[in-house]
């Protein structure tokens, strides 16, 4: 059964209340002459005007009953399907749930099913149809001259478009179709918008200013019509248009000189959209609708579609509205059973139209989501980037062009545009996309506040955005460290690696340490044999400093003293004395490299207890029996550092010492080790090593160690799949690359901006290739690959600290393993798994899972039955606070050896000689 007028209104009101989260009721401001209040619906979230809008009206002509049902059912279908996350099917045409969601998530649909309730009520309940095809107009009696038969205005002749009929040619006989006679069916009314019903339609357009498409549903003829209705279309003579008085008196006659101008682009848009409607409709049951302009055979004036499309021409401040008329069916009032088929046809076509409209129209909406760009707590000297984020709804390409700035308005420093202007390519749909304009800032001095502004222009929308910028600078943590290098005679002994003495191994491995230092770090060098020797005072590593280069040179020049013995105490003492007076550093560290047992004063044990307040790390080259690191082990453990012992080196251990230096650097600089694999890269085979970064990581180093880094093409791949290559860093911000003889690395300041896309958290890859055309690839040409070791360090608020303690340093003993996780100071509660991979002195190995005994604290014990070295690799994986995967790794060495518990050697005091070393001032070690 058709809906009566009360039912139409109740249906609309109830739909709004039932689906209130996605639908709003619109009460039209003008009541009809029958005192009826009209309602419309706005489907889709957000306030009026917040989205592009399709406005669809129906029921202007009273006798065309089914228009109301088409629109009420359209709203009901969309709301129900959206709410229940289903698709919709009409005969042979169907739409997915995702399409329905997209439609109501990106557009507004304003649906006004019954513009003329008075007329419909008369038509349905009273009209005897004795003079014509049924009641067409509203029921306004104001102009009837006393005759009820002359009531009403043809609403679709009452809009303000060529309402003055003298603007038509006499030969057009315009009054045959748009009448001035109140007694005729097409009476236009006394003036434009004389009727409350047409005022309501205009009000809808005015209050939904982002209406881009307008559809007026009528019957009949199975057509969809596009602009114009006053004459035939033309796209060649813009001046020949409805608003040009020079053509008054010329319009409305087919086949003559005057034709109404429509831009060719607009014509293609409306034809495409109308065709989309017809195609969608035809898929339901095969009914074919004709796509054509409204003008056919005769002209009309004052119609809703021409008024809607003309608005932006008459008043350029109004948005362009593509306007259409649907003429459904083959009669005004079909049998209800057939009307239901027509509803299915037209609703399927309307959904197709709405889905295609945003792209077909090529319209663009751009909004600024971040009203300000804020750089909060940028470490001094660190460059970082922030984005102004724009939301874009457009199928077309969108550009953001900086027209002014970014400029500083107060405070020190400068803002930059690391990747220039921003743009988005065309897209297949108008779903909301983000577009980021990246601004960079380098921290100045702690406590500084810098403000500025940047002005951005969007040429597609002609919008200008003035965006304020604020930056605050904090002090960057600065670490000073001293390398304490052994030059005793034993450094000339074979290392175990073919062709390399121990001093050679040091020359090869140690340069990675200064190479990877942060620019603001301090670095100094001392050497020791039976005495300590100042080599290089503490210098700033990079930037204006030359410490990195000077330290590398000092390492290269480090030479063995053939008569030298080993006084680690002297070396540590001199390092501490060098660091102690330094100002401006947040922490200090000492890194000892030795290959043998201390055998001459000053011994470590000679240092007064508590005088070494630097963190001490140590790398010992050799076996535990050779090094006998009793005192060294105690020293590192008491200062928060740790000892790494290489054990006996073999032919395949070329990286071990270098990796130890890299790991200790991570310890010194409080970096986290994310992954630490190694392998060989073969020609033609791409090696992809994944690593995960999380939101707590604000920087990272991706490091490749190799005897021949030049033989490897070393790239990074962002989580989005964008390749970063150090040979082409244009368009990439936040990435620095550095290459050294046996080491190369990318330093990332997160987020990285690579070719307009931000990259931070997610799964990254180190990508290594060995191609024959890569210089140096002959390394891999003899059936072997190019050896590599990849280490990724993260500067992060997600930390893993590991500890190995043991009750005895003589086997058998027990190793206590402990790992502690925090993220921004909060324990990681049941979000990580940890295991320890332990190699035993006899060549066997084991994997020990650590149990979470408290939130974020993992522990395990494992026996150490044999004397010797136990390299322990802690490996952890888990989820960050926001649920992103992370990994962490750390290596430690546990030791057990005969004499491990004996008191450390020290210089005898009067009457007391503690050990074998007494008096051996120049013994070889």
């Amino acid at each position: 059964m058709y809906l009566n007028v009360d039912e139409v209104d109740t249906a609309v009101v109830n739909l709004a209340s039932t689906y209130s989260s996605i639908c709003s009721l619109i009460t039209l401001p003008n009541t009809t002459f029958g005192t009826r209040t009209c309602h419309a619906l706005r489907l889709g979230g957000g306030a009026a005007g917040s989205r592009d809008c399709v406005t669809i009206i129906g029921g202007q002509h009273a006798r065309e009953w089914g228009s109301c049902e088409i629109l009420v059912d359209l709203a009901a279908d969309l709301l129900e399907a959206y709410t229940n996350a289903t698709g919709l099917a009409y005969g042979g045409k169907s739409y997915t749930a995702a399409q329905i969601q997209t439609l109501l998530n990106t557009l507004h649909l304003v649906i006004f099913p019954l513009v003329n309730p008075d007329g419909r009520d008369y038509s349905q309940m009273h009209d005897p149809v004795h003079t014509d095809g049924g009641w067409r107009k509203n029921r306004n009696p104001a102009n009837n001259g006393g005759s009820d038969a002359c009531d009403g205005v043809d609403l679709n002749r009452n809009y303000d478009f060529l309402f003055d009929l003298s603007k038509f040619a006499p030969a057009a006989h315009i009054t045959d179709y748009t009448s001035k006679n109140p007694c005729e069916l097409t009476y236009q009314g006394p003036m434009p918008f004389s009727e409350p019903e047409t005022l309501n339609v205009r009000w809808l357009l005015d209050t939904n200013p982002r209406t881009r498409w307008f559809i007026d549903v009528h019957s009949y003829s199975q057509d969809i019509l596009y602009s114009w209705g006053d004459d035939q279309d033309q796209s060649t003579t813009p001046a020949m248009n409805f608003a040009n008085p020079a053509f008054d008196g010329s319009r409305g006659v087919g086949g003559d000189a005057y034709k109404e101008y429509i831009h060719a682009d607009d014509l293609s848009v409306v034809v495409a959209l109308a065709t989309t409607f017809a195609t969608g409709l035809q898929a339901v049951r095969g009914v074919s609708y004709t796509v054509k302009s409204s003008y056919d055979l005769y002209a009309t004036a004052g119609s809703s579609d021409d008024y809607s499309f003309a608005r932006h021409i008459v008043d350029p401040s109004k948005g362009k509205i593509y306007a259409f008329v649907i003429e459904w069916g083959l009669e005004f009032r079909p049998l209800w059973s057939e009307m239901q088929n027509i509803i299915a046809d037209v609703d399927a076509g309307l959904i197709a139209f709405c889905l295609a409209a945003p792209c077909a129209a090529g319209l663009t909406a751009v909004g600024l989501d971040t009203p300000a760009i804020v750089f909060s707590a940028v470490p001094a000297g660190v460059e970082t980037t922030r984005a102004a984020v724009f939301s874009v709804e457009s199928c077309g390409a969108v550009d953001l062009i900086v027209t002014s700035g970014p400029a500083v308005t107060s405070g020190p420093g400068a803002f930059g545009l690391p990747v220039g202007n921003a743009s988005l390519p065309a897209a297949p749909d108008a779903g909301q996309r983000d577009l980021r304009l990246w601004v960079s800032f380098t921290g100045t001095n702690a406590g500084d506040v810098t403000t500025g502004t940047v002005t951005v222009h969007c040429p597609q929308t002609m919008q200008n955005f003035v965006i304020p910028i604020t930056a605050t600078t904090i002090a960057q943590p600065k670490v000073a460290s001293m390398l304490v290098l052994d030059r005793s005679a034993s450094m000339d002994d074979p290392s175990g690696i073919p062709g390399m003495k121990r001093i050679d191994v040091l020359h090869a491995a140690a340069p990675g340490y200064p190479a990877l230092l942060a620019d603001n770090a301090g670095i100094g060098v001392v050497s020791f044999d039976q005495d300590a020797h100042p080599v290089m005072p503490v210098e700033v590593a990079g930037g204006a400093g030359t410490g990195r280069t000077d330290a590398a040179n000092a390492i290269a020049l480090h030479a063995t003293n053939p008569a030298g013995s080993t006084s680690i105490g002297d070396g540590v003492e001199l390092a501490h004395a060098t660091l102690a007076p330094l100002a401006g550093y947040d922490s200090t560290a000492i890194v000892v490299f030795t290959d043998g047992e201390e055998n001459t004063a000053k011994f470590i044990a000679d240092l007064p207890a508590g005088t070494i307040d630097d963190r001490v790390f140590a790398i010992a080259l050799g076996t535990v029996d050779e090094v006998n690191p009793v005192a060294l082990n105690q020293l590192v453990n008491s200062t928060g550092g740790y000892l790494l012992l290489t054990d006996a080196l073999g032919p395949n251990d070329s990286f071990r010492l270098a990796k130890y230096f890299v790991q200790i650097l991570a310890g010194v600089s409080n970096a986290e080790i994310v992954v630490d694999p190694q392998g060989e890269a073969f020609p033609g085979v791409e090696v992809r090593i994944p690593f995960d970064l999380v939101e707590s990581d604000y920087g990272a180093d991706a490091i490749v160690l190799s005897p021949s880094p030049a033989a490897l093409r070393f790239q990074l791949e962002t989580p989005a799949g964008v390749r970063i290559d150090h040979t082409a860093l244009g368009g990439v911000a936040g990435v620095m690359f550095s290459a050294h003889p046996q080491l190369a690395f990318y330093r990332l300041s997160l987020p990285v901006v690579a070719h307009g896309a931000a990259a931070a958290r997610g799964r990254w890859h180190v990508v290594l290739t060995t191609a024959r055309d890569v210089p140096g690839s002959n390394v891999a040409s003899k059936g072997r690959g190019v050896p590599y070791s990849v280490v990724v360090h993260a500067r992060s608020a997600l930390t893993m600290d590991v500890f190995v303690t043991q009750p005895s340093y003589v086997a058998p003993t027990t190793l206590h393993l402990r790992a502690v996780f925090t993220e921004i100071g909060i324990p990681l509660d049941h979000r990580a798994h940890v295991r320890a991979e332990i190699a035993r002195p006899d060549g066997t190995s084991t994997v020990v899972p650590l149990m979470e005994i408290e939130p974020g604290i993992f522990e395990a014990t494992t026996p150490a039955p044999l004397n010797g070295t136990y390299p322990i690799r802690f490996r952890a994986a888990g989820k960050s606070l926001r649920g992103f995967p992370f990994t962490r790794e750390q290596t430690r060495t546990a030791l057990a050896w005969r004499g491990g518990n004996t008191p450390p050697p020290r210089t005898p005091t009067a009457g007391h000689c503690c050990c074998e070393a007494c008096g051996k001032q120049t013994a070889r070690a």
Partner: protein, 107 residues
């Protein structure tokens, strides 16, 4: 009092476009839908004409085919209009003619 004559829905055919325009101008017909064109140039359009005016049209050169008694059809359709307010007494909201389908059912 005599029963008013019915209004017929008729298909009016004129030999060409100008002949149709002249017919429309002289008779000010209540038109239903768009004109349709034949290959020979003839133009057809539906119109609603009181029964006693059909002869006038034919006399003016038009070919007129009666499609339906619109007065009777209108009476029938008025019986197909809901009475009362179904949304106050039953399901408060309409459900469109579209089938709500899961994506696996979408072809």
């Amino acid at each position: 009092m005599a029963e008013p004559k019915p209004v017929y829905r008729v298909l009016v055919t004129a030999r060409d476009r100008s002949a149709m325009l002249a017919l429309l101008h002289r008779h000010r017909l209540d038109i239903g839908g768009s004109p349709r064109y034949s290959a020979d140039g003839a133009v057809r359009i539906e119109a609603y004409v009181p029964a006693d005016r059909v002869a006038e049209l034919e006399a003016d050169g038009a070919r007129v085919e009666i499609v339906a008694d619109e007065t009777a059809a209108n009476r029938d359709r008025q019986q197909q209009v809901g009475r009362g307010n179904r949304f106050l007494t039953g399901d408060p909201v309409p459900h469109g003619v579209g089938r709500k389908v899961r994506d696996r059912d979408v072809s």
